[in-house]
């Protein structure tokens, strides 16, 4: 029996933003170590809020988040998390190589190790021709590659990819998928959010559907299809969190109490949720 702590464990996680919007309420989730885990849900479901909690980017209202058994805010836990955010957020003053080396330094790598690793990542992500180019001069695809390379730079145990393939061309999406799959095969835990359901179905061993700040369902893609008597994950999605049915789905997970659902949102999205 495996007694190793989950890669990610959320217990009673609640996040209420300063404007009163409740993004997550009493959210529980455990992602086993080594799992390729998909997090699906509409915009405003609470996916990015959840990711931001794990990455120490928002203040938790209640509950706790553990990374491999360590509270997520502790330095040790932060060292284990690699995040590629949905929006491209690269340091405009640095070159491609500097972005990687400085990130490695921030996350505890020595200069020599960081430079060595940066060289590896530059080769892996085909950034060699742009090594000395400052980030504002990169194309959209190159920025996306660099964002992913940065997230993997310090060899995190838990890699969080927030819509990594949003807005990228088919070729790059294919390459990213191959690389992420390889990373997972080597034992890294992957937490992926995406709006491409076929991508989630293809890559993820397990999928959680979240809507309105609540966990609606969680299973393998096949298990979800069977449970919801659906031919595809898209159909499952539409029956649960899509098409404005999140509230009814949430209610089913909360003992049928339709009032238990809350107006969640991704923190950079519209604050149209239920305010207190």
């Amino acid at each position: 029996m495996d007694h190793s702590p989950p890669a990610l464990e959320l217990r009673g996680l609640t996040k209420r933003y300063d404007d009163g919007t409740l993004a997550l309420e009493g959210f529980d989730l455990a992602v086993p170590a080594g799992r390729f885990f998909g997090l699906l849900g509409p915009n405003g479901a609470g996916k990015t809020t959840l990711i931001s909690v794990v990455s120490n980017l928002i203040r938790i209202t209640a509950g706790e988040a553990l990374v491999f058994g360590e509270p997520a805010h502790r330095l040790r836990a932060r060292r284990w998390v690699g995040l590629a955010e949905q929006d491209v957020n690269l340091d405009r003053f640095l070159t491609v190589e500097e972005v990687l080396v400085y990130h490695g330094g921030y996350f505890g790598m020595t200069g020599a190790d960081a430079r060595r690793r940066a060289t590896e990542m530059i080769d892996v992500f085909d950034l060699r021709a742009k090594t000395d180019v400052r980030t504002p001069k990169l194309s959209g695809g190159m920025r996306r590659r660099l964002l992913l390379a940065r997230a993997l730079m310090h060899r995190p145990r838990l890699v969080i990819l927030d819509e990594p393939t949003a807005g990228v061309d088919v070729e790059l999406r294919y390459e990213l998928s191959c690389y992420i799959r390889k990373l997972h095969a080597e034992g890294t835990t992957i937490l992926l959010t995406t709006h491409y359901l076929e991508e989630a179905e293809e890559l993820c061993e397990e999928i959680a559907l979240i809507g309105a700040g609540q966990l609606i369902a969680r299973d393998t893609a096949a298990g979800l299809r069977e449970r919801y008597d659906a031919a595809s994950l898209t159909e499952v999605y539409m029956k649960t969190v899509g098409g404005g049915r999140a509230a009814s789905g949430a209610a089913s997970e909360n003992g049928g109490d339709p009032e238990a659902g809350v107006g969640g949102h991704d923190h950079e999205s519209s604050r149209a949720g239920i305010a207190s």
Partner: protein, 283 residues
């Protein structure tokens, strides 16, 4: 993208003290020291990558003040306490350039990091909040010291200004830079637009420095302007630095240092509180 020789982030690699890493890194890892040093380095890199804008420009404008007001017009202005006018204005001009640089550096760096959201790379890194706050402050302090050193190197041959009380000078400058870099951090955290940052620089700091006796001794002012000058904290900073350079001050240097410390330390504490609580930095 190559998928054939991808670096292997094996699951055990980052657990605890991987064998291939040295003790130095493990120590840095545990206490966030590595991240702190790299943040300091990043802030300094930013200053020196943009050196014409961040260092050269303030030196040139301050030297122009010395040349125009000191050397050209100085002979027509009476001495203050037997000190030549071109010498009298040097400490104030150096103070003005340094505090503005300290403020501008942290304010713009933090604001740009927030605006483009790459500050998330710092906030999510294994660093203590005090290391983040100090890392940003050091960028401002280094930039100011580079400007100060450049100005002193040019002012000595131009005016013959010397250093009479080095301890007071060092204490005054350090306290001033801590206070103004912290103010910049606070404004960078609260600013909604770049206008907020420039507003504080141009509408608050600049007038206070000018009215703090950079170009004159307040003994030349009539009442109530002389008394009102004592409400201006920059008056005390300018006088502490002037005392350090030329041994002349309109007020006791001990009082000057005490007032500057009484403003700088709470300011730094406020910036620290923002990093510790995540207010305005984290949603």
């Amino acid at each position: 993208m190559s998928t054939t020789h991808a670096p292997a982030p094996s699951p055990g690699e980052a657990v605890e003290g991987p064998h291939h890493r040295g003790a130095r890194e493990r120590l840095g890892d545990r206490y966030g020291l590595s991240g702190f040093l790299w943040l300091c380095r990043r802030e300094c890199l930013r200053v020196f990558k943009l050196w014409t804008q961040t260092v050269l420009a303030p030196i040139v404008s301050s030297i122009l003040f010395i040349l125009v007001f000191g050397l050209s017009l100085g002979s027509r202005i009476r001495n203050f306490g037997g000190i030549e006018y071109e010498v009298f204005i040097v400490p104030g001009l150096i103070t003005m350039a340094m505090v503005q640089a300290a403020y501008n550096n942290t304010s713009s760096s933090v604001f740009q990091g927030r605006q483009d959201r790459y500050i998330n790379d710092i906030l999510s890194a294994p660093m203590h909040p005090w290391q983040m706050n100090l890392g940003y402050a050091i960028g401002g302090i280094v930039r100011s010291l580079a400007i100060g050193a450049g100005l002193v190197a040019l002012a000595i041959p131009l005016t013959g200004v010397g250093v009479q009380h080095p301890l007071v000078l060092v204490a005054g400058i350090l306290l001033g830079l801590v206070g103004f870099s912290a103010l910049g951090t606070i404004v960078g955290i609260f600013a909604e637009t770049f206008d907020n940052h420039t507003f504080v620089s141009n509408i608050v700091i600049l007038p206070l420095v000018f009215l703090g006796g950079v170009f004159y001794s307040i003994t030349t002012l009539a009442s109530p302007w002389q008394e009102l000058s004592h409400v201006n904290p920059l008056f005390f900073l300018v006088n502490a630095v002037r005392y350090g350079f030329i041994g002349h001050s309109d007020v006791s240097p001990v009082l000057s240092l005490a007032v500057v410390a009484a403003i700088a330390l709470p300011m730094y504490g406020w910036a620290q509180w923002l990093f510790s609580t995540g207010r305005r930095l984290k949603a």
